[in-house]
Symmetry: C2
Subunit: 668 residues, 2 copies
């Protein structure tokens, strides 16, 4: 990428156009240019004036490399980013959409947490959606989102759906990428925490969610004295109905696992399609109790030299489940551990101490495991593993009878990476990139000979990596993002709570290097997916007018212009209201103390970006109404008074006058 043309020759060659370009630049904004378009000089016409550059570089303390990085990431007004990154919002319980290479945040998608600015959780459909994700203990208004997964067709991202998980309160949500809207949340009491989620099979038949901290299955209680017998892990295979765009819970099933801490997971692809890989830690089966005379969990759980990579035959498991060889625990069909063993659904392969990342290679022949207390990545040879399983060539069994394969026989080899390898992603040239926690680097290594070829220095507490189309059968290379959890010294101080730091790495350069530091100021964005922007075909407005975003169909209560009205039925007041620049109709709502108001609100707009909002004072209501959208809002009016209502989006010059009143008369 960085060709070094002799400087003087280039300079002379471009002197004339450069001068012209500068003259043009001096004439300032082109009146014919689109709004906000800064310049008018022709793209690539000539290098920028060295005089200006030298002065600017000096003034802002920029190095040669900084200038290159700036030009590789700066995206002028009106130019679109090449890739979308869908990053988990961590504890924010939402999804962060980032443009690459500009690293600008383009959107937040409300998922598990109410988001008033988008009206999410503030109208009836989204409130019901959030409540559908509550668990037995009670209402949930946050999540610990970790691993977003894009829907795939033939192992390629198809840009249709995004799936996300909740580690703290095991749940999975479905996001429709037509309008970047959450449409479903599913949960089960079978497990009480998870981590290996979400990961999809190559055609998105199933969405994988596997448990992390062992508990009695189904939400039962048992003391630690019964840990080995009563505590279990499980992996859930949520069946996805692409036609309906929904998870089909009835067709979903789970497999019981021993009470280890199952960790990350990945689905096989190509030659390994049909198989599933989950690693595990704490095969020591420690449960802590540091104030009860037990050793601290972190040391107790780090004694064994080897833990177990779980190799699961999910296609056969689906047949076993279909054959009814399951027990229903809480509301989930579960294949028991003994059945899984008897049917050869579950096999273990030793993996070096305390593994974390488990990533299937693009060609599907290998699984890369990073042992966080190790110095290697281990590359497993899936065809070999499948042969050994077929031949039942076991070296032993775990305490629960799960057959174990021979470590050496099951691997392609190991790569000496450095201290604390975690996660691995891939490019289009046969290289793997592994985050190395203790060293704070990304190690670039060759899948062919398992040798490190380069290391990229990153910031502290590096965790997951994401590369362009990286989890598909054909990664793009080009860009990689290191998701670092610490940011000290990187950005201006904002108090004790600092942002995370996403560092964009340029994989096209002769030497991969960090070209952008992006502070991530919400939640603990954990993992992400990067997809070509042109694979998505989002809609711009809702058609027909009156569409309900959750169903993408016209709402039964959609209101037509001219047919606005208020209907009272006892203490229920139905308000059929429309919004269009610059008024609501009706703009006055009259009710009596104690009434229940059923607001049916349709935006008549069909112009892109002509969003309205509706706030009703003191009643905790803010609705965001995109062009053509319909929303239903039910609320009580407990106290007499006069409450202004108004449009909360700056929609027109007379936006402030797009207002009205809710009048609540005292009783009798």
């Amino acid at each position: 990428m960085t060709r070094h043309i002799p400087f003087v020759r280039l300079a002379l060659a471009t002197a004339a156009p450069a001068t012209l370009a500068l003259a043009a630049a001096c004439s300032g904004p082109d009146p014919t240019a689109a709004p906000g378009t800064p310049g008018s000089a022709a793209p690539g016409a000539a290098p920028a004036a060295s005089g200006d550059l030298a002065a600017l570089m000096k003034a802002r303390g920029l190095s040669e490399d900084d200038v290159t990085a700036a030009l590789k990431t700066y995206t002028p007004t009106g130019k679109k980013d090449e890739y979308f990154v869908f990053a988990s919002g961590g504890h924010g319980g939402n999804v962060i959409v980032i443009g690459v290479p500009s690293m600008r945040i383009l959107k937040y998608i409300g998922v598990f947490t109410p988001e008033p600015w988008q009206g999410y959780g503030f109208d009836d459909p989204t409130r019901a959606l959030l409540r559908s994700g509550d668990r037995a203990v009670g209402e949930l208004n946050w999540a610990d989102m970790h691993h977003p997964a894009l829907s795939e067709t033939g192992g390629e991202y198809d840009g249709q759906y995004l799936f996300v998980n909740d580690k703290a309160n095991p749940r999975v949500a479905v996001i429709n990428l037509k309008d970047f809207t959450t449409t479903q949340i599913v949960t089960t009491e079978l497990i009480q925490s998870e981590h290996g989620a979400t990961f999809v099979t190559p055609n998105t038949d199933y969405i994988i969610e596997s448990s992390q901290y062992p508990t009695p299955l189904g939400g039962a209680y048992a003391d630690f004295t019964k840990f080995n017998d009563s505590y279990r892990g499980a992996v859930i295979l949520w069946k996805f109905d692409r036609e309906k765009g929904k998870i089909d819970k009835a067709q979903s099933f789970a497999i019981e696992l021993p009470p280890y801490m199952q960790d990350l997971a990945d689905a096989g692809k190509k030659v390994s399609d049909g198989w599933l890989f989950i690693n595990s830690i704490n095969t020591e089966r420690c449960w802590g109790g540091n104030l009860e005379g037990n050793p601290p969990l972190e040391s107790c759980a780090s004694q064994n030299d080897m833990d177990y990579l779980h190799v699961i035959n999910w296609k056969k498991a689906a047949e076993i489940a279909a054959a009814g060889k399951t027990t229903t625990i809480s509301d989930m069909r579960v294949i028991g551990l003994q059945t899984a063993i008897d049917e050869q659904l579950l096999t273990f392969v030793p993996e070096p101490k305390s593994p974390h990342g488990v990533d299937v290679t693009p060609d599907g022949t290998g699984v890369v495991v990073g042992g966080k207390l190790d110095t290697h990545t281990t590359v497993y040879d899936i065809p070999k593993i499948l042969q050994l399983i077929a031949a039942k060539t076991y070296t032993g069994k775990d305490p629960y009878g799960v057959p174990i394969l021979d470590f050496k026989a099951a691997i392609k080899g190991q790569c000496e990476i450095g201290l604390g390898p975690l996660h691995t992603v891939f490019d289009d040239k046969g290289f793997a990139y592994t985050s190395v926690f203790i060293e704070s680097v990304v190690a670039k290594w060759s899948l062919a000979d398992l040798k490190v070829v380069d290391k990229v220095s990153t910031h502290y507490n590096i965790g997951h990596l994401v590369s362009a189309e990286g989890d598909t059968v054909s990664p793009d290379g080009k860009y990689l993002i290191a998701m670092n959890k610490w940011a000290l010294d990187r950005f201006a101080g904002v108090g004790p709570l600092l942002p995370q730091n996403f560092q964009l790495v340029d994989l096209d350069a002769a030497k991969p290097r960090v070209i952008y530091d992006m502070p991530l100021p919400l939640g603990e964005p954990h993992n992400a997916q990067m997809i070509k922007a042109d694979k998505l075909k989002p809609i711009e407005v809702y058609k027909p007018v009156g569409t309900n975003p959750l169903t993408h169909e016209k709402d039964a209560f959609a209101v037509e212009g001219g047919k606005e009205r208020i209907e009272r039925n006892g203490t229920d007041v139905h308000v059929y209201m429309t919004a269009i620049r610059s008024h609501f109709t009706p703009d006055i709502v009259r009710a009596k103390e104690g009434d229940t108001i059923h607001l049916h609100l349709t935006s008549l707009e069909q112009a892109h970006d002509a969003t309205h909002g509706l706030a009703i004072g003191s009643h905790d209501i803010n609705i965001s109404l995109e062009p053509g959208e319909h929303s239903n809002v039910t609320f009580k009016v407990p106290k007499a008074g006069v409450y202004p209502l108004y449009c909360t989006e700056f929609c027109s010059a007379l936006h402030l006058e797009m207002a009205g009143y809710l009048l609540v008369e005292p009783k009798g």
Copy 2:
């Protein structure tokens, strides 16, 4: 700034160093460099290689101006931004902290809306803080934040506090900039909506909040038939106790105003210190009713050629309030309209149709008003206004007896701006910058001769502007941000709901121009403040260990290392827990179904950025625990079971093992 050195001469002059610099660049990351530092070439050593530049510019379609813009905004890893922007989070109910010139989001500050990722609203102190902002109708979990205001000393930002408002549910919040934490929310039932908030007096004696949509004062009910007699506006002057860092409600007071729609406000400074200016729309006193046979509000409210600029003597008003000439309405001392007239606290000056922005000039001698249905900005002459008031030179009275000054006698003049002037900010060279809605430009004009000298093309639905230190007595110039509400065609498509678009304008350039487009993907960021970053002195960790962020004192329940314990008192279980890499002590909490758990949690960390989180599965609890922070969390355990608890921040290599269990035994 853009000096045009003849290209060839510069090129030859720098050829040698350039070549050297390139050689250095090719050697890649400097192993001795700080983590994440991309390059090693010396800052400003030489312009980047023209060869690389030309190729890069061509490849990414960058113009000359784009290159300059990129180098003016790109901020390499480890380099700090020069300014902080505190932008309202709009309907997000939070504050967005942005670095300038990089336009990267550095932090979100939870204010009116729960923010699980920072534990805001999920522990006892912040839950109580949120609930202290509820209004009579019920619980509120969102806000429509509009105008942040930084605390001032002598008319300069002092970097100590930030104040924000809620238009929908009239409230004001105080944020401590020591740790970017919300510490207080105040509200009163006196008014039911507001807009002219928050604005501070030059020494932050008072924080101004003025109503928008008229209602009966104190939350009473009255029909529109009584609109002229029973509906009113009001301006509240919240007394700020800088010593305590809190608003003193008992020392605060309000002034009753006629039932117009009071709009934006600003405080006088220097020669006009002690005075307050609020503009108004809808002096027609329309209330809508488009389904009740009335004309739509937006046309009815736009009939008058002139509305009224409210000129208020707040220093004298404070004396009148102190003298007890007030009536208490709900919980607020109110100076009645007649008293305000009798005591000469309130005077009107006509202002051209439907004004919006009202901005006092840095020297305090002028107020600039933009009439959104006008083509001018009007510059009022405050000394003249004060003379006219002193001499009681009135031309008439409004229907409520408020004296009115002569328009022509009260102004310095008008500036022909263009269609739809809204808000005005200032630089250090005597220029004013006004957002022009219909034209989508920022007009640069001279305060000296009221002539437009330049126009900067921006994107659609331009609203507020913010300039560096712009609301102080000594603005910096340098940077201006146009806060545009629309973003269509600017960024990659993300469905019907688009981000906002903050456009950074370079005021140092020969011609001011847009140098960065920043998508703002949460809420409707409305207005902002821009302050020199080095004016803030945020803390890095909480000292002493066990500090409560809301009081900045050691919490009564702070836990010392070694003194962790669990104490049961009936059904109340007090858990004294500490957190340090990589365990909680105790890591097991045992309770019985129906118990109430009182968790007292102290982080023993004192390393910058060593944040821990605590999630308790299924119980809707996530706490963010900064180094040294103490938090108290009270919650019920309604259902028997085994619930994992764990650290939600990626704190160390053994972060996954920083976990434990909440065991809830079934009842006897």
